[in-house]
Amino acid sequence: MSGITVNTKINGDPVEFICEADETLLDVLRNRLGLTGAKEGCSTGDCGACSVTVDGRLTCSCLVLGAEAEGHNIGTIEGMAHGESLHPLQSKFLEHAALQCGICTPGILVAAKSLLEKNPDPTETEIRFGLAGNLCRCTGYDKIVRAVQDAAKEMRSGKSAKSKATAKKRA
């Protein structure tokens, strides 16, 4: 079998890889690119442990072929923290102990970030519906919901603090 050459951007950096036609993006990320944050829970789209974004849209990387990534921007959990500084969602997951074994965590963080980008102030119901594609067998979800709510609050106040600062500067 001859491989397919694919050009993408992953977390903002240009990445070229070679894969087989039937290889999923999840397998490419984990086995070829060493990006093992996305996990394989089911490989049938049910658990969300493999969540990534494709051109900013939340997707199961187990239901995308590596070849389909050609020309697209892929976002993975590895792109969430900035160097040593964690994303507010990551810090709040630690603070609230919103993980136990941690297998579901990267997928849930990617999905929660995508949710908050569209809806910065979600209700508990909206969070539960928004994360319905992510299964967790350990936490019982409550701590996850609370961590997301708390992170959302911090991100909103962070934003308003920032816009206040720029408003002051303008004035």
């Binding site: 397919i4 036609a21 039937d22 999923t24 490989s43 049938t44 789209g45 049910d46 969300g48 969540s51 494709v54 849209r57 939340l58 997707t59 199961c60 187990c62 239901l63 995308v64 072929l65 070849a67 389909e68 050609e70 999905a111 995508s114 949710l115 519906f129 928004g130 994360l131 319905a132 594609g133 992510n134």
Partner: protein
């Protein structure tokens, strides 16, 4: 297995027609890749249609909406004009899977996967949607209810591809709705689904209606007797009773772990009644 991403539908149709082995169209892949991964199918060729020009577009014109074959559920939900004109179709498409699945799944894929329980299909049928099909022999347009012919089987011939799903323009005072019954609150397969689309006159009398049921027969079913029960009425109790009865009578469901025959027959009537009331409200009725 080979993977191809042509940029025109003509090229896609030729690739499919030429292939001697098993060939499949790849849209969102949320059905196809599951079947591939679980070994249900062993294709020789996948033809990805997401690179076809126009496939990712929703076009609005005087004759209605044209939904390209690669438009995702999430994109349908973000299209304000479509949502306003066909809220039932959009709510049905948005019920497919999780946020992750919404990012990829298409209504054409939902239709061609030909599951009797496909959520967007009853809403498309009730809406009177048409499928524009491109194939080796040219173009044809058919009513969406003619595409599925049995569980997992369609009337599409080798090399034929759905180019778009077209929804008609709506007269004033029209509304549609889709409801499904599932034991969970999210991420489940419909035990019964029902879509109702109606148009009212100035006095609130139903002038046009279409009613479709999912998961109660080998294919999604259009139920003309149910529409007849509504037309000419103000949807009073008698009309809603007749609607429910016609829907229950149109069911020939199976018994399975998700629901018994009797349950499905009963629930089809209940959902029809509720969906009709929502459709009336959306049409600007009481």
């Amino acid at each position: 297995m080979r993977y191809e991403r042509p940029t025109t539908l003509k090229a896609a149709a030729q690739l499919l027609a030429k292939e001697k082995g098993q060939a499949f169209i790849l849209a969102g892949g949320t059905d196809l890749l599951v079947r591939l991964r679980t070994g249900f199918i062993e294709p020789d060729l996948l033809v990805d249609i997401k690179g076809v020009s126009g496939a990712k577009e929703i076009k609005k014109s005087a004759s209605g909406f044209k939904i390209g074959a690669a438009v995702s559920g999430a994109e349908l939900g973000e299209h304000a004009a479509l949502k306003k004109a066909w809220p039932g179709v959009v709510e049905a498409a948005n019920l497919i899977g999780s946020k992750q699945v919404q990012g990829r799944c298409t209504v054409s894929g939902n239709l061609c996967n030909a599951s009797p329980a496909a959520d967007s299909v009853p809403a498309l049928v009730a809406a009177g949607a048409k499928a524009v099909i491109v194939g080796p022999k040219g173009k044809r347009t058919v009513a969406v209810e003619e595409i599925p012919v049995g569980p997992g089987r369609t009337s599409l011939k080798k090399g034929e591809i759905i180019e778009s799903i077209n929804l008609p323009a709506r007269p004033a005072k029209s509304g549609d709705a889709y409801l499904r019954f599932i034991p969970r609150t999210e991420m489940d397969i419909a035990v019964v689904g029902c879509a109702v689309s109606i148009t009212l006159d100035g006095k609130g009398v139903v002038t046009k209606a279409r009613v479709a049921l999912g998961a109660v027969a080998p294919t999604v079913r259009l139920v003309p007797a149910a529409a007849k029960a509504l037309i000419g009425t103000k949807m009073d109790k008698a009309a809603l009773d007749a609607l429910a009865e016609a829907c229950s009578a149109a069911c020939s469901p199976i018994d399975d772990k998700r629901g018994t025959r009797e349950f499905r027959i009963k629930v089809a009537g209940v959902l029809a009644r509720r969906a009709a009331v929502i459709a009336r409200k959306r049409a600007g009725g009481k």
